[in-house]
């Protein structure tokens, strides 16, 4: 299925929290980050897509945990001592929605401003494209960094939590 995504990122965040997933550096607007927690085994939910690991208790609120590595069809992932959960929030008409995403490790916090921002290049065809808002290039010291910006809104969309038939046999899927 062709997934067309507009090149232009709607809102380029002022501050990015970046983390590593499968060797790639991803980032989110720091304003959407609630907290970072150590990995804990979630309670499984029956008939949920493979990337939804289950739910955990976040100070009295039940939140789902999404393993993006699984969503992005990355191979070879595990839960190590650096594995953490980044808890994200988003405002919706029904109130705040909170989800946790599993990442390999936290990377850094960057400020993006007119001075260091380069561009948002076109993405190729990657799995899990629907969760990606775009790519950001920016200058850090003398380097140009490229960070994949996550689309938090898409991540939290209810439709994403429904079992997708194509997910039933992940091994047979390939790009």
């Amino acid at each position: 299925m062709e997934y067309e995504k507009n090149n232009a990122i709607k809102n380029i965040p002022n501050q990015l929290l970046t983390f590593i997933i499968g060797g790639e550096e991803f980032g989110v607007d720091i304003l959407s980050v609630v907290e970072i927690r150590g990995w804990e085994e979630p309670t499984a939910i029956p008939a949920s897509p493979a990337h939804v690991k289950g739910v955990i208790n976040l100070r009295g609120v039940i939140i789902p945990i999404i393993d993006l590595r699984q969503k992005f069809r990355m191979t070879d992932f595990n839960y190590s001592s650096t594995t953490v959960i980044v808890v994200l929030q988003m405002a919706t008409p029904e109130g705040k929605r909170i989800n946790g995403v599993v990442v390999d490790a936290i990377s850094d916090v960057y400020n993006i401003n007119l001075n260091n921002f380069s561009d948002t290049p076109d993405m190729g065809n990657i799995h899990g494209k629907e969760f990606i808002a775009g790519l950001i290039n920016f200058q850090v010291e003398d380097e140009t960094k490229m960070v994949i910006l996550l689309d938090v809104e898409q991540l939290m969309k209810k439709s994403e939590t429904v079992l997708d038939k194509s997910e039933l046999t992940p091994e047979t899927q390939g790009e």
């Binding site: 979630p42 309670t43 499984a44 939910i45 008939a47 009295g60 989800n99 939590t161």
Partner: protein, 703 residues
Amino acid sequence: MDIDLKQFQQAFFEESLELLDGVEQTLLKFDDSSELDMESINQLFRGMHSIKGGSATFGFSGIAEFTHTAETYLDLVRNNERTLVKESVNTLLQSVDWLRQTIATLQAEAEPDYSSCLPVKEEYNVFINQGEPKKEVSIPLKKEAPATQESDEIDLDSLFDSMVDERDGQVNSFKNNFDIFFKPHQKIFYSGNDPGRILKELETLGEMSIDLLESSIPDFKNYEIDSCNLAWKILLKTNFEKDDILKKAFDWVLDECDLTIENISCKKETPPPEPQVEAKTPAPKKSEPKKNSPTPKDPSAGSKEANSIRVSTEKLDVLINMVGELIITQSMLGRFENTIDSKSTLNLKEGLTRLDQNCRELQECVMRLRMLPVSTVFNRFPRMIRELSAKIDKKIQLKIIGENTEMDKTMLEKLSDPLVHLVRNSVDHGLEAEHIRKQNGKNPQGTVTLSAYHEGGSIIVEITDDGAGLNKKNITKKAVEKGLISENEVLTDEQIYKLIFQPGFSTAAQVTEVSGRGVGMDVVRKNIESLNGSIEIKSEMGVGTTIRVQLPLTLAILDGQLITVGHEKFIMPLISLKEIISIKSQNIYSVTESNQMYHLREHYIPIIRLYELFGITPKKTELENSFLNIVEVGGKLYGLVADDLLTQQQVVIKSLDHNYRRVDGVSGATILGDGTVALILDVSSLVRNAVLKVAATITSSFH
């Protein structure tokens, strides 16, 4: 300073809606045989008056104008110049509807159609203008009293002359020049008025020079400390007119002073002093009510507000959440109780027990904050019955019992629509037409009874009618027609009645405007089950029908049985659980490989393996010594298999939906004492899924 009144608008809307509820309730008490007492009429008047005042203040002139008309009519009624009749009560009821609608539109920040009230307004005008011509309300006349200048005053003329001379020499930039004589009456202080304030006010109107007329001061012996014996002569240059001066400075005291205001800016000749302006105090109105009703004031008409405070439901929810957390923490501590073993920790144990008690009490109190009496929902029924009765021409009496029984606010709101449907059904299909009732020796007036009461840990709401009862033959016939049951099936009465909850089921010969489309009962049952409740029917042909709805006291807390399936823990709600038994393989009968039944006493109960439904690896697949949780869904028994039974406990229900979504077979989640999450089983949807699965694999009917 620009004060934004919008913040008070919401309060005004809520308040008005409450007032309208009160007005409606009172109006419904009126019928041909009993008129309303004076206090009730006053309540009606005040309701409209209050809404008028508030709507004018907040700029909703459309509402202000409409309520003004209603108020005008009600004013006549309370002064005994008009009497309430059925037609005008209907007009008032319609007004309540229009106002409610308009306020709802405003609350939604949309623009209401103010012209839609014109027909109702017209009806008021008819009531207002008909009958005896309006009695002449004494309108105060500005009496032309002869000018009275105090003769023992200083010679004003000479004083005046000297001032005129002064004036001549000045550049007069003001339009008018007034000569004001102001003598407050002696008792002016008693009204809280202060001549000093008035003089100060005058000063702001232009350029003023003032003289105290000392001859008015009595000598010391006769001096009364609280009487005013001063008079002043004031010359005021101003651009204001005389009327402005009167209004701005003297408005409040016109009836308690001697006042003359002369415009002397035209220098021709001393114009004759203006006639004194005096406001006439009208004769006191005759206001003895026709009937001096000794009936005690309706408590709902009084001010409930004095002892209550408005709290937003969000605040309550936060509080309830926190209490839930407290309970979890407390139970976590409680788990360690058993690992502590020493005399000195006896105090600790005692402390923990007390903490447990405190927490439970706190929780109960907090839960009660969200409770409202069911009357808030029951109160819409008298009106509904009245209208239905008129529409379908059946005489109906509505009885309400236990209206003060309290229920969680959210549950109450969700119960409202199903209740309406059930009552409509009773009225439409349950109660027979008058002539049939007479034929059968029944009271031609049918009775529908709504009752609510607490029983054990639940709330019971019952709708009873003394109508024809459910016709078992018709129901079974229809069910066979629809293929829901086979012809030869033998069902208990209860099972037959439960058939009417199937989608699309309606034995009504005709679809009436009121009901009969068959979409109702299915939705009603779903709604009740979504509240973790259950619904039952009892009926007797020729006698009547009772529908019994059982609901838990609150949506937030559940009594549950903790079970394990594989490595996962689940909560089985006790309200759904009939029995738990340890499975003995000799009682298992296999209809087919995947379709097994358990023989328990006289029942054959279908076995549902939870691990299969959930895709969990079980501890074992052999059922011997596993546990069968027996539940009842749709009138039939089913058994859900669990590996182990743990504790029975009260759990706080957490939403899965808010951050994730609704999950089939799961009604929510809870946090256990160890901090982990356990899913709460939605028994009815689990069973239905299982049934569908099996039905898909076998061809014969399954039950």
